[in-house]
Each structure stands twice: as structure tokens, then as C-alpha cells.
Symmetry: C2
Subunit: 262 residues, 2 copies
Amino acid sequence: MPQHLIRKLEHFARLSYDDRHALEEAARQRGRLFDAHQDIIREGDAPDHVNLILEGWACRYKTLEDGRRQIISFFLPGDLCDPHVFVLREMDHSISTITHVRLAEISRDTLLSLTERHPRITQALWWEMLVAAAVQQEWTVNLGQRTGLERIGHLLCELFIRLRGVGLTNGNSCILPVTQMDLGDATGLSNVHVNRVLQEMRISGLVVLKGKHLTVPDLEALQRVSLFNVNYLHLDREGRHLDANGSEQPPQDSAAATPERC
Amino acid sequence: MPQHLIRKLEHFARLSYDDRHALEEAARQRGRLFDAHQDIIREGDAPDHVNLILEGWACRYKTLEDGRRQIISFFLPGDLCDPHVFVLREMDHSISTITHVRLAEISRDTLLSLTERHPRITQALWWEMLVAAAVQQEWTVNLGQRTGLERIGHLLCELFIRLRGVGLTNGNSCILPVTQMDLGDATGLSNVHVNRVLQEMRISGLVVLKGKHLTVPDLEALQRVSLFNVNYLHLDREGRHLDANGSEQPPQDSAAATPERC
DNA sequence: GAGAGAACTTCACCTGTGTGAATACGTGGT
DNA sequence: ACCACGTATTCACACAGGTGAAGTTCTCTC
């Protein structure tokens, strides 16, 4: 079930059959379904489990008193919302769905036993957390220094590459289920300006965006105009084979190659 | 030596005498001194230890190809730069000093044994990491949604409260050793605009800023105009006594009150 | 305590992005 | 097949904040 999570973690660590089985077990417990635009957790709630997105998109956001809203991060299939939040007494922000979402609630105990018994998973979850932090830092740069076009271009690059990492792209294309307002709330731009920028990107052929379908004819070009540097996604596992574009080769089954467990 | 770190961690956990002693030991090894404006770690370096700031200020930053620079976070005395970075193969950003800095390099092994033997410290370090992540998220909101005045006001509130948490304020005042350019690089504003905003804040009496001395006559007022909500700093340890302003009572020695160790 | 460089301040002018509103388009529900 | 509402598009105008440059004031250092 949690193919996306497993696929993502394998960017970093070679998981054994056992590891993968344990992740599957963890994801099987307490599944939940949400419609689009529902809050999953609200500011002030006391977190007592971790949400693993199995299907659909969600986002973390904060709202200011006067209604201004900032999307702080996007959650894609395979993403864990805050491993170890339970350390904090209450949430300082909310998480809501963007599309229809299927997720697994993973209890504190499950997560604990998972990490105790599977050092590879522990390592991989550390990597996942640090990459999430690096993404947040890159967003800081995005909002602080980049122009409107660069911001949106950068965000599209990031989302496309993250989607590719969990197998949710199809050649140059993917599904982008966010409205222009969402893009604005994530990039600190007004919906009007997001629209202007998208028109510009369409005209210059950087993106093809129709409904919820995004095509990026030339990802390198988009990266170039957005000053996008992949490093921060830390996709560079030692010994992994990348093609010229940084996309991974068809995954070979690594169970045989990694007999050691724990 | 690491009084600031200990004082900060005690916002979250009651540390035993042993815990504190272990932290002191860890901070004693491999001390280093830096002048102002020196890089501590550079993008591309492979991290193999964690830096604990004992004295002085530092910052994490990224530079775009064309020279634009974004300060991503400030490190104050008592701050740990990225516990567990060693999981990543190389740094995707740099850290440099702002003032003269004294720090301790804590090796991977030291940190491991520290957390293995001291569950309280482990918990407290988790809290520290999660708060750092929450700060980063709040910066995302700051850069994405707030006006110039709100951004700078918010940053000043955050720094003042963090300094207070490690005992580096004196009533309404503290030392703020950053230039207006640094403030601009942190808030995504030009130095000229930072200056405009500071003048405005001076005129309205929100801050008194002379040289490196900052006084905030009315912190609540500054928080109000900056839409600052302390929640994200998670200073609310169960059972801790706060006065009306959220500043802590003089620290009572908690060793006697917490006989349990480990 | 004089000189030099960094930091701060102010100015005039410019532009990227926001605002509010009107219009057009899409798509799901009945 | 139609209605309705969310979404996208476009326009005209306003303004927050950027730019470049010219002082001015600190604050070191010798």
C-alpha cells in the first residue's frame, strides 16, 4: 500500500523485504478518507499520531488574524506529516487536504517499534525529516529572494521532481491539482499575479498547463530560469544510478542485494 | 559552559544533575573560536559533527548565482546547528558567523552516547529540533505574507524572546549585533527599506535602536503590530510558571526536585 | 586623535506586484 | 441538458518596496 513512501525512502536506503513488510503493516492500520478541502489537523490540536499520505495532496498552512493565508508546505503521496510531532504539546498550524485524500494514521507506538526494529527505516526517516527541513529552507529563499516568475518556476520544479521520485509523473507530465490561488498562497503572490506569470510561462513555452495537467517540455530550462538547484532534495544516494536528467532508473528489486536485516 | 543550551533545554525538560554534567562534558571537547564574518561550514562540505554555539551569533544562509543572499536562520548562544546533519552527504547551504563566535564541535559519537544515556536530553533535543522547524515555518509565513514593518517587527520579537530564553536580555533591552543589511537579507527587504521601516518604528516608539543596543519598550505592542503569536516557539512546558508576559520566573535549581535520573 | 572603511541615512525615481472588479470558462450535480 | 459556483482571465489603477547614488555618522586601527 505505501508504495510511494517505500519508493521514496529507497532513494536513500536499501530496504530489506522485512523493512518493506513492516512499513506495509504500519500503513494498514487506521486508514482514513478525506474529501478535498477538509482539515486533517487544526492549530491547537494535540497530535498523537503521524499521518502518512497514501493518495492525494494535502498542505500545511497558517492563517493570520486578518485572513492572509500562507501555505507552508505541500504533502504528496508518500509524505509523512511530521514524524515525532507528539513531542510538542499542541499544533501551531493546520493541515488540510487539497484533493480527496487517503491516509494512514500511524500511532506513536507503531512508529517507535518500527524504528526500534528497523535501523534502515530509522535512517531513512531521518533522511526524510532532514530533506523536509531542507525544503522548508529553500522555500525561505524562494519567498525572500526570488521574483514572481522564479518563485512559481521553482515551486513547479520542486513538485515535479518530488512527484517523479514517487512515480507519479508520466514522461514530462504530471497532475497538478492545485488552484492558482493555492499557488499564490504558497508563493506569497496574489492570484492575479500568479495568473500573469503563468501566462508568461506559457507564452515562452516553459510550461503547458491545462486544467490539472502540467507538462514541462524542458525541465532543465525551467530550472535555469528559476535558479533551481536540486541539491537541497538530497537525492544522491551513494551508488544509485541516475540518468542525465537526475531521474532514476527503473527500480531493481533490492531484496536480493541486501540480505542483511536490521 | 553550555549554560545557554542547558537553560534553553530546561524550558522543555527538567534535567538532572547528571544530564547537565553530561552536556557540560560534551561542550568541553573541541572548542573553536571564529572572528566575525567567517564561514563555519560551507555548501558542499560533508558534515561530521554538530556545532554548539557557546558565545556570539551566527547565521545559516544561501546565495543565488547572481549574488542575492538569503539568511535562513539565526543561531544564538545555546543553539545547535542541525543535530543529525551527518545523515546527509553534503551541506546544501553555508553557515557563517555574524560576531566573534566561540563554539564546541560535538562529534557524532558524543552525541550518540549522550542521547543513549540520557533520555531527558534526547527528548529535549527533539523539542529543540521541532522548535527550529517551527521557526523556519514561521519565517515562511513572515516572508510570504507580512509587510515590511510586520516582517522586521516579527523578527525582532522572535530574537528578543529567544535571547530572553537563554538569559541574554536585560529588562527590555538586548544586544542586537546585526547590520541593517543582515536584517534585509533575513526579511527579503533591501537595506534602504529596512532603514525606512526602522525609522518608522523609532518614530512610533516601538523600538529604540542605537548602535547594537535594542530596547523594546512595549513588547506586547510590537507583537501586536507584527501579528506575532508566540505559540510557535513552544515555550509552554507543563508545570512551568510564567508571568503575564510569558517570561520565565527566576530559575529555581531543579536538581533537588528531580531525583530520578535517566 | 586622525584617517579609512563600514554602516547608516536620505533622496528621487522606477517597477513589480497588489487591489477590486468585471467577464469568461469549466465542470459537477440534479 | 442546464444551472451554479468555483476557477481562470483580463483590465485599470495604486502603492509597497527596489535601485543607484550621494551624503553622513560610527567605529575601528595605528
